[in-house]
Structure formats: C-alpha cells, structure tokens
C-alpha cells in the first residue's frame, strides 16, 4: 500500500525544497515531527480509515466507496489533505470534531457510518498524531467523490443531532485503575480505534449499537459478525490469547478463517498492528462480559469430525435436474478437491478442515453461504489465500443443499439454510430495511399531526 511511499515521497519532497518541518503550508498545524507522523500512520491503520475512504482500485483516502446502509448508500469522502476536494483546510480542532464527534468543518453532522461513536474514545494525543499524518504524509488527491443522497428524512443531516444526543457518548477512554496496563491498552483499542463494536455489537431499531449486548454479534450487510464476548460457548472465551492474536494477524488458524469484512479488516488493519497491541486486545476481549446466545449447545469450533459419504454416490449417474444433486454429490464436485475426501483439509493447513471449524459450527449460516457464494480472497503479509466463489456456478437450491450437507456432515446440524436465504444473500443481504425509512417518516407524520391538532385546539379555544 501507499502510506510508506507517501511518507517517503513527502519527506523527500521537503528535503528537496529545503523546508523545515514546521509551517509546511498547513494553516494552524502544529509542527509535525516524523515520529508523530509515523505514529499517526500506525493509528490510521489501526482505525482502518482506508477501508471505507478508498474506492476499490482508486487513490488512497480519496473516498468514493459506497457503503450500503439500511437507508441507502453513504459515499465515503475524500480525506486526503487536498484543499479543494479533501480535508486540507481542516484545523486540528475541526479534524478532532469530525473524527470524535461526527461534526464536519461546516458544522453539519456526519452520518454514523463514520464510526465516530467508537472514535470518541481516542485520546487527544492520538488524534493529534493522526492529524499530523493526514496533513503531512498523505498524498493530496484533487477529486471529489459524489455526494451522499439519502431518502427523506435522512437527507436532513440535522436529524443526526437528535441521534447523537440519544446515542453518542463523547467522553474519551478512561483507564480502569483496577486493571493492568495491558488490559487498559486493549480496552482503549477495542472500544476506540479498531471499532470492533461497529460490526460485532447488535444494533437497536434506530441503528445504534445496543450497549447492553456489547460485542454479542451483529449483522454487516449479508455477513454475520459473530459474538466475540468472553462467553466460552457463544463467544471467544475458549480461545487462547495466542489463538486470538494469530487470527487477527493472519486471518487463519485451524479452527477459524476470516472472510468477508473481517478478512478486509485484517488485510487493511490488524495484520499491521504490533503483537503487543494485538495481545492487549485479546486480553481485553477475554474480559468482555459473557453473553450467551440462545440455543447454542457447545462451542462453535467443537462440532463435527472427519467423514466421507462418497460410497452413497459412486457409480450413480447425476440427476437430470442439477437442483436435485445431493450433498455428497455437490461436495464431491465442488469441495473435495481442496478440502479433501473427508473434509480434513490439507496437511499443511493451507486448506482448512471443515469440521471443528467456526465456519460450520454456527446456528447462523449466513457466513457459510457467503463464503460459498463469494469465496475468500486475502493477501496477507507474504502470502495469499484464495478460495474461489461459486456464485456463478451453483444455484440457490444447490448452495442450500450443500450448506445443509456441510452442517450435517461436518458441523452443527441445527444450522439450517434455505434456498430463499441464499437468494437473499446473493442479492446483497437482508432486504434493505426500508422499515426504518417508513418508521422515521411515520414518526414525523405523527409528530406533524400532533402539532396540527394542538394548533386546531388552540384556535378553537380562542374563538370560544
């Protein structure tokens, strides 16, 4: 990625121009020293700013990525130091207001697709470092992505003020003196910059995180962000610190492999974090109050065993109708070449076993279906993980049959998949909850009616 290059280019440029570090053209910027910039770069990675603020294949931090939300697409903005298209004119205070309180330079509120409710926990020092990095070491890009256009009433940005009043806690992180330094560092990262709860906490009907069920699992479009509380059955309570660190660093341990948005978080962010920071996060996660899910009988990574059913299909012709292919037939044709005959994976762990794997242990089967549809493509430091997707080859019915077979043969047999569910996920997830739009509009209509009623009542009272 371009950060290091950008820093180098910038430093090189300064040297050529013979400019001193301070006063490098940024009005109101504190003199930025290279160490501060470097720390800011690290923190920007921890915060994974790039994930949303860079369009696929587009220039870094120039925005343009469309983030689907239940009320419509929100377009990420240009956060390069361009004075015309980006945040080049932002003072430290304005930058701070945007990142921690969700207020842009013109005073209008941001949509909480920007995880400022999490970033609110970031310390002043870290905000300053990120500001120094963005202003001094990011290449300005002079293009402005299209503006976000949400339907009424969400197009009224001030509606977010009310939302903030209800849901935004502006206090920065307060260390807990009863806990050690490592735990506090972990809590600071998890609650703040890494914004784990943005995906992993369930949301209430107004799209705010449900703090009573912190990290108990949430939905990200078609993907399910699992429970990562310390519950030993539903969460990661049974994982060792080493397993959690290795998962965040490499995205793959024998019992669990990252896919979808988590794979992106690892590729863009976690893999670059120091082992000490990852360990601190793991220490904190293992202390998050356990929240058990209903109906979960044993840990998601403890189901299933090596198993093959080929004897039942060998020598039998395929059915005329491909939707009538059974589980073992589909497994034979699409899975067994890599995951091996008994689902045991390869000896070098490049291809994981399908049993005792979180992929097949959940009641919620969305992620299994999504991986079959889209596959996994990750580029970690030095190596690549590629599972091909089968969206173009397998029908909804075939994926439902396969998914049910995989759960039956290798995982939690209670986790069911229907063809309708696959069709829905193929289209990008739960049908956008236009309910929220309806609800908001209905709410405003009701409010208006109440006001009108009041006016009528007042007028009548005066007349009488």
């Amino acid at each position: 990625m371009g950060w290091i290059q950008a820093v180098k280019r910038f430093v090189g440029g300064l040297m050529v121009l013979g400019l001193a570090w301070g006063g490098a053209g940024v009005v109101g910027a504190a003199p930025a020293d290279p160490e501060l910039i470097q720390r800011g770069e690290y923190l920007a990675r921890v915060g994974d700013c790039v994930a949303c603020h860079t369009a696929p294949g587009g220039p870094v931090f120039a925005g343009g990525l469309e983030l689907p939300t239940p009320v419509g697409n929100i377009v990420a903005t240009n956060i390069t130091p361009s004075k015309t298209a980006g945040i080049g004119n932002y003072t430290l205070e304005q930058f701070d207001a945007a990142v921690r309180r969700g207020i842009r330079a013109d005073g209008k509120p941001l949509y909480p697709a920007m995880p400022y409710p999490s970033y609110a926990k970031v310390t002043d020092e870290d905000i300053e470092a990120m500001y120094a990095y963005f202003m001094n070491a990011v290449e300005p890009v002079e293009t402005r992505p299209p503006q976000t256009k949400l339907p009424f009433p969400f197009n009224i940005r001030y509606s977010m003020k009310l939302w903030n009043a209800l849901f935004l806690d502006e206090t920065p992180f307060q260390p807990d003196p009863s806990q050690g330094e490592e735990w506090n560092r972990g809590a600071y990262l998890v609650q703040g910059l890494t914004h784990c709860s943005t995906c992993h906490s369930p949301r209430n009907f107004l799209m705010a995180e449900d703090s009573s069920r912190d990290l108990a699992g949430g939905e990200v479009g078609p993907w399910h962000a699992p429970n990562i509380t310390s519950d030993p059955v539903s969460g990661v309570g049974s994982w060792s610190l080493e397993e959690i660190v290795a998962y965040m660093k490499q995205g793959s341990i024998p019992k669990s492999q990252a896919a979808g948005p988590m794979a992106e978080a690892i590729d863009h962010s976690f893999q670059y974090m120091t082992d000490a920071d990852l360990r601190a996060m793991a220490v904190y996660l293992k202390s998050v109050p356990p929240i058990a899910e209903d109906g979960v009988k044993k840990p998601v990574d403890s189901w299933g065993r090596a198993h093959a059913d080929f004897a039942s299909v060998r020598g039998k012709p395929w059915p005329e109708n491909p939707d009538e292919l059974n589980g073992p037939q589909l497994f034979d044709a699409y899975c067994a070449a890599c995951h091996q005959a008994s689902g045991q994976g390869t000896f070098d762990r490049q291809m994981p076993a399908l049993y005792q794997n979180t992929a097949t242990g959940r009641l919620q089967t969305n992620n299994l279906v999504m991986v079959i549809l889209e596959g996994i493509h990750r580029v970690s430091q030095g190596y690549e993980v590629r599972m091909p997707g089968f969206a173009h080859e397998l029908s909804d019915q075939q994926i439902a049959t396969l998914s049910n077979y995989l759960m039956q043969a290798y995982g939690n047999p209670d986790g069911q998949t229907s063809a309708e569910q696959v069709a829905n996920l193929r289209q990008g997830g739960p049908v956008s909850s236009s309910n929220l739009i309806l609800l908001a509009r209905a709410g405003m209509v009701v409010g208006l009616l109440v006001v009108l009623a009041l006016v009528v009542w007042l007028v009548r009272r005066r007349r009488s």
Binding site: R314, A337, C338, P388
Partner: protein
Amino acid sequence: MAENLSADFVVIGSGICGALAAYKLARAGASVIMLEAGPRVTRAQLLANFRNSPRRSDWMSPYPFSPWAPHPVYKPKDNGYLVQAGPYPYPAEYIRVVGGTTWHWAAHTWRYLPNDMRMQSLYGVGVDWPCTYDELDPFYQEAEEIMGVAGSAEEHPESPRSKPFPLEPVAEPWAMRRLRERLQPEYPVVGNTVARNSRTFGGRPACCGSNNCQPICPVDAQYHGGLAVDAAEAAGVRLIPNAVVYRLEHDERDRIVAAHYFDPDKQSYRVTGKTFIVAANGIESPKLLLLSTSERFPNGIANSRDMVGRHLMDHPSTSLTFDADEEVWLGRGPQSPSSINTLRDGPFRAEFSAYRLDFTNISRVDSTTQRLLLDGVYGPEFEKRLRYSAAREMNVKTVLEVLPRPENRITLSDRKDALGIPQPQVHYAIDAYTRGGAQDAKKHFTRIAELMGGTNLRFTPDDAFANNQHICGTLSMGNDPNTSVCDRYGRAHDHENLFFIGTGVLPTAGTCNSTLAAVAVGFWTVAHILEEQAGVPSGKRAATGAGAGT
C-alpha cells in the same frame, strides 16, 4: 424458426481458438454467433464423471459422447469414427463439447522457435511461414496474458520475448528437481511454459498438485476453452450448442453467405453472416470444407486447388521407461512439468527431425497396478513391487517433428455418422526424417537413464510411435495458393470473407504443443479483420466486402 440467425461474424467451433476469437470480436462491438456441435459441459460434472468412472485410467471416459457430434473413441474399443487409410495409424483424439479439447490437456503453452517458421530457407525441408516470429510476438503475449501462462524467460531463451511471462513458474516437483540436479550440466532440465496458475489468477486458484491435469483439473488451476467460452458469452457472443454445421453456402461472388447446421434431431437451420470463421479443429474443419461442395467448388469450399486437409502433422513420441536408483515418487505436482529443450534446433534439421525431451510426472500407481495384475502378481509381493515402481519408475519421451507432406491428409470416408454426415478419413505416414530423430534420441535416452542410475531400461519399439493430439497443417497458411489453403492472415485464398483459426493453419509443427501458437495466430487474424473493417460502417461492410483491404 422465427428467431433471427444472423450476425456480423459466425464462428464455427467453440474451442479455445474459436471462443477467444469470438470474445475479441464481441469486445470490439461486433455481433457474433458461435456454433458448437457438442453439448455444454461443466467442470463439476466432468470431475464427478471421472471420480465415478469404473475406468479411470481412460481419460476420455469422463467426457460425454454425443451421437450427433461424434468424436474418436478408442477405449474400451475403437468406435471407428476416424477412418484409418494408412499406412501408419493416426489415432487422433479430440472432444466435441462446448469449450473443446483443452478441457483435457497438460496446459503446455509453448511458443515456437523463430527457426521453426523458416524451415525451408534455413534447412531446405518443410516450408517457411508467411509471417515472422517477431510479427507474432505481441499476439503470443496477448494470448499468454489471457491464459495466464507461467514460465521463466531465463530458462527459455530459445523463444525470445519482448515482455515477461505473466506468471512466475509453477513450483517444481521433487522428481523434476532430482532430474534437473542430476542431469546438469549435460542436459538443462527446465520448467515447461504452461497455462497453469502458479498463483491466484483470473479468479482461479494456484495449482495444488492434484496430478489430475488430465482428464480434468479438479480446482480449475489450468486455463481451458470452457473459460474462453465463459468470457465470450459474457462479452455478448451468442453460443448455440448442439449445432452441427454440415455445409457452408457461397454466393456467385464466392463469398460465404450462410452456415447450415443440424440440431440433434436433424432439423436444419441456416445462419447468415458477413464474415465466417471456421475454428472447428484440425480434422473437423477440413471435413466441413470438404462436405461443402457446389457446382463452382466441386471439391469443397476453399478447395479449388485440392489443398484442404493436406499437410497433416502431429508430434509422434518414442520413450524410455527406467527405474531410478533413488525414490522420486512421480505423481506429486502437475503431470507434465519439465523438459529438455536443447535438441529442438540445429543444422541437423536438414537431415532428421528435431525433438523436445519431455519428462512425465504422472503417478505410476495406476499403470503399475494394471501391469502387476496382468502378470498375476498378488499379496505381499504385489505391495512390494507396486511400492518399488511407484517410487522409482521414470519416463522420458521425444516430441518429434513431422514435416508437412501433401500425402498426409484428411479426406471424407464412405462411412456416415448418425446424422448421415460422412466421417473423416486419415492418410498418415511417419517418414525417414521423423524416424531419424527418434533414432538420434536413443543415445540421449540411455545417457539420461545412466545419469539417474537407471536400471531395467524399457525402450519403446522402433516402429511404435505414440501420438500427441497436436493436429496441425490441414488448413495451412501460405503465400502460394497452390500449396496452402489460406493467406498469412488466415483468409481462405478462394473466399474473401472466410477465415480459419486453429491449429490447422500452422504451416509447420515444430517440436512443441500447438495450442498457444494457434491462439496467437488467431489473435493476429482477428486484429487484421478488425483493422480492415475499421471505419467501414457496419451496414456497408457486406456490400463493400470485409476483404476490401487486401
């Protein structure tokens, strides 16, 4: 039939050559209909067929056989589709399905040597190509980039290139590494250039060493015609499967105006177009031309000088099997990973055939098992001998050059297939030139075995040549219409809007697999067609003629 069967381009054949040409034309904005005699297949179905087959060592068994689009089948017995007229048998294999024969290949994607294209002027044998290696270089590159060819430029100075290979070489299997180490410096053993992923490419994973390249790669790590068809259809090409073209129709100006095809029920359809491209394989393409007779072309389309189907070439192989003095365990990694390329050129080519020496890496378990069972070996002795052979048996084979000779040819036989279409007949011989190469190779076979501490040397008999299914020459391009079928761009000498794409157009065979050359020459043809038609309004093309440029 109510629907409109008409397009700017009609491509006959949906193999890797036809499909990639169709893809390029559609991408350029043309309407394209692609006709394929065989049915659609899916990789998953082929894989399941293979795994379910009771005859797994017959690699053709997973492929569906369609009575309306027959192809040669030799196991368990010869179906007699390709009629042998002698003197030497030519048991060619190919597959008539959507995507064609590259569903089933070792994915060798070699460039010819520049000298392969100048055989007549350099060595006084064979012919010179009507175009040069340098002219084809960018088209080779384009083909390699689409197919994801892996290789090392350093290991392959024999075929110069102006740009790097798109993919790094595929990991070297242990047995090949031992060959390379023990044969150097006498023989440089190098990795083959292959359309096999050494890393994720085109949304497909890297080779994981299933050793199952043939009959079908189980993870889709190899490029193949099925992928080319997917790309073509995504680009807007209209594919009609199960459409057996049996006649091309021309007008009074000798332009092709329609292709006639049968569906499996022998209903006939007429497809019209402005430009026609025949890309139906080195045997089926000349067969179609020979079938398309008229008063003006009594010997068939493009055949006014009786050149169609002649100059048939392939690559005969002789081989040596031996037991190495160490355990190498063939069968890990791709089936055909490495070879020796230093005997592919030299002044000797005036006298006898050049050749490539190719090492197999196919697991010996199946072949040894069959041999031991035939020999009546069983029990602990079976286990012991199977283990010994599976670990130590190695094989090196020649890939010999055949010269273009007019008497080696495809004609029509008296026999007819299920739709009443005459079956192809082959006249083939292996001449002294090719046999000379086979004799020359023996000393290298012996030396290679010696360097590997080989024992139990088993040479194939002197008159036993295996075939490699690299069918070429039958629609040769050339400048002289008296000795070739099409011009340097693949245009039929006799018909200005008829082009040929495929291995048939290659005028010499060289010592390497023919697919990449055919795809590259096909791209050269397509580039020429598009250049010629550029600027000509679509409506006027038919009137002014696609061939107005030359």
